[in-house]
Amino acid sequence: MEQTRRQFIRSGLLLAAPAIVRAARMELKIGLTPVILADQAAFLARWATYLEQRIDAKVSFVARTEYQLVLDQLFQREVHVAWLCGYPYIQHQARLSMLAVPLYQNAPTYRSYLIRPRESSISGWQDLNGRVLAYADRLSNSGWLVAQAQLKKVGISPQHLRKSFFAHGHKHVAESVASHLADAGAIDGYLWDTMHKQKMQAALDTEVVWRSTAFGFPPLVNLRGEETDVHRHLQGTLLDMHRDSQGQSLLADLNLDGFVAGDPSRYESIRVMAQDVANSGLID
């Protein structure tokens, strides 16, 4: 009788073994900032499934409206990978390791736009005196830092603006300008192009009056020195996404062409610009 009980327990444990193995699988959390249109839950679920099938880890996306929140979560190891902007990457470059950089229009770069409501009289930064300007985020290169540099360049200090505010994301910048809550807005060019391509009303009701030079595209990063096999598998999967149809479909939804390993030197122009802007918060 005792022998039978032991055999029964042993056989039960053998049957349960695969589930236990699966439960022990690492859960990879990827923090998303508003550098992409991250409020499309169905797309993120598809992308997570795609990655899970290739990296042997449970994948989940953690979307936050502020860059700082995602950065804090990364430093507190609440997320394993973060899709940040180039500006916070420069700020914390010593602690961060570049995992992959998207290719947009076949280049790992993007631009910052100054947008206005359709039929507005604003034609450039010089016209913003006494106007209301919307920023995307305090840690956004295209949505704040570039604007600070350009305002300084045309001699307009923040006091000369009637008002400026952070709209908690690039999409909200477009919506603020479209609704006339702001007279103009600083926005990620890739995101505005994507919104326009998807015929979002906020993009259709606004127009670009100024485009910046190219900057390094917001990279996916992880904490330096804490890379695991899952990180390496994720990197390989991202770099190979453009090779299969499922990956191509996901990339098309993201309005991207693929991912590359990335070159930190591409972000030096952001560093130079940040050094010239007061209160840029550049610490490294």
């Binding site: 209301v132 919307a134 009637r162 008002k163 505010f165 952070f166 709209a167 908690h168 909200h172 603020s176 609704s179 006339h180 809550l181 702001a182």
Partner: protein, 483 residues
């Protein structure tokens, strides 16, 4: 207008009008009540919206979060009346009265001073104004509500601002009247056929009574009485009873008229007979003398022959006079002939007696005479008798009988005093009976009416009286009324 319509139209129209008027009155009262209710609902909604803003705006004000304020205003302003039409808007203001964020940034621009505008400066007139809620209707009818937003320790962080345009308070008459119109339409759809049926049912006895009244004087009295409806309605019963009485009286009056007509005929015959008797009596005296002469000297051939010739002429005169009188007394049912006129002229001349009158008769007959002889002879006799009375000894009478396919006319002219239509009418309608001409002429007119003809004075006659009688030239005999 409405009263000229028959009852079967008056009743449904009246009912429909009553419904419409009632609906209008109810709508007016309801509209007033709805307006008050709508205003109260708007104020209640505005209060709730203001409460939501007061609960959520302070942290946004503290963080100077324009986007957060905008999303809150968009969400709460959607609750306000007329928001979809752009008739209401809300905003969060900082403690200087500048717009932090508004639901409609085009009208309430970000970072503009709203409470310091001339039209709204009273809101921030002094320090105490900042502490109080303001709710007022401006001259343009717009409602503005400004409430201070406080921190937990009571410090004024800013203000909530709600503006509702006057059209939001306007009554939506179409929406209000629409159910009433449906109700009225249904009521009218029901009442028109029902009212038609009721009207028809109500007026059927009246219509039958009216039909009976219209036939009085033409149809048999017994049939008319059968046509009067028996009803339980007291008013209609009274009318029916009165009409029944009228029919009875008409029947009696007709009998009286018939008797009068017969009496007049007999009277005329009597007058004629007296004249004829007088006319016969004269030759009878001569004839008796001839008989006496014949008995004394009858043996002489010459005397006998001349006496017999005198006797023959005298008797022929008597025979023609009696022949002229006989049809008048018999009341024959046959068509009129020209000989009838000759008879009447002969009788008239006989009646004239010793008067030196000129009595002429002419005929103008284009079509066969179909009219009954008896009544026309009566008319001719009456008119000539009347003319004889109207002229003096040397007067002139002219009688003309005309006939064509359409009608028969008898015209009598006399050289007596001219008679106007008014005088004739007065004679015919005189009730006293003192005018000797009245009854004979009245009989002429009654016969004319009975046979669908006419009787009048010819106006264009100069210095003489001309009376014209005519009836349709059709065959028509009447059965004398039973006594």
């Amino acid at each position: 207008m409405l009263t000229r319509l028959p009852y079967r139209l008056q009743i449904p129209l009246g009912l429909s009008m009553a419904v419409v008027i009632t609906a209008l009155l109810v709508s007016a009262v309801t509209a007033r009540h709805s307006a008050q209710l709508a205003r109260a609902q708007i104020m209640s909604t505005v209060d709730r919206t203001e409460f939501l803003i007061a609960a959520q705006a302070p942290p946004l004000l503290a963080a100077d979060d324009v986007w957060g304020g905008y999303t809150l205003m968009k969400a709460t302003a959607a609750l306000l009346p007329g928001a979809q039409e752009g008739l209401s808007r809300s905003a969060i203001l900082d403690n200087t009265g500048k717009v932090l964020a508004a639901s409609d940034p085009v009208r309430l621009k970000t970072a503009t001073e709203l409470l310091n505008e001339p039209s709204r400066e009273s809101y921030m007139r002094d320090e105490s104004s900042l502490q109080n809620s303001h709710q007022r209707f401006h001259d343009d009818g717009n409602l503005v509500i400004v409430n201070p937003l406080r921190s937990e320790d009571g410090q004024v962080l800013g203000f909530s601002y709600i503006e509702v345009d006057a059209p939001s308070f306007a009554i939506d008459w179409l929406e209000l009247v629409y159910p009433t119109l449906i109700g009225v339409g249904m009521a009218v759809a029901l009442l028109v056929p029902a009212g038609w049926w009721m009207g028809k049912r109500m007026t059927r006895p009246v219509a039958r009574i009216a039909s009976v009244i219209a036939q009085i004087g033409s149809n048999g009295a017994d049939k008319l009485e059968e046509g009067i409806p028996v009803t339980r309605d007291p008013e209609l019963a009274r009318i029916g009873s009165a009409v029944r009485e009228l029919v009875r009286e008409t029947r009696i009056r007709k009998k009286v008229e018939q008797r009068a007509y017969s009496a007049e005929r007999l009277a005329a015959i009597g007058r004629m007979t007296a004249a004829v008797a007088h006319e016969i009596n004269n030759p009878l005296g001569g004839l008796l003398n001839v008989v006496k002469t014949l008995s004394i000297h009858g043996h002489r051939d010459e005397t006998r022959a001349s006496s017999l010739a005198l006797l023959e002429r005298g008797l022929q005169q008597i025979q023609s006079t009696v022949n002229a009188l006989l049809p008048q007394a018999r009341g024959e049912q046959r068509p009129l002939t020209v000989i009838d006129l000759d008879d009447i002229i002969l009788l008239a001349r006989t009646s004239a007696g010793s008067q030196s009158l000129e009595i002429h008769a002419t005929t103008d007959i284009e079509s066969a005479l179909r009219v009954p002889a008896d009544p026309v002879r009566q008319v001719m006799l009456n008119l000539l008798s009347n003319a004889l009375k109207a002229v003096d000894d040397r007067g002139v009478l002219q009688a003309t009988l005309q006939a064509d396919e359409r009608e028969v006319r008898f015209l009598v002219s006399n050289s007596g005093t001219s008679m106007s239509e008014k005088v004739l009418e007065r004679i015919l309608t005189a009730e006293s009976g003192t005018d000797p001409r009245g009854f004979g002429l009245w009989v002429c007119r009654e016969i004319a009416i009975r046979y669908d003809g006419g009787f009048r004075v010819v106006d264009d006659a100069q210095n003489m009286t001309q009376l014209l009688f005519w009836i349709p030239n059709v065959e028509r005999y009447e059965t004398p009324l039973a006594d």
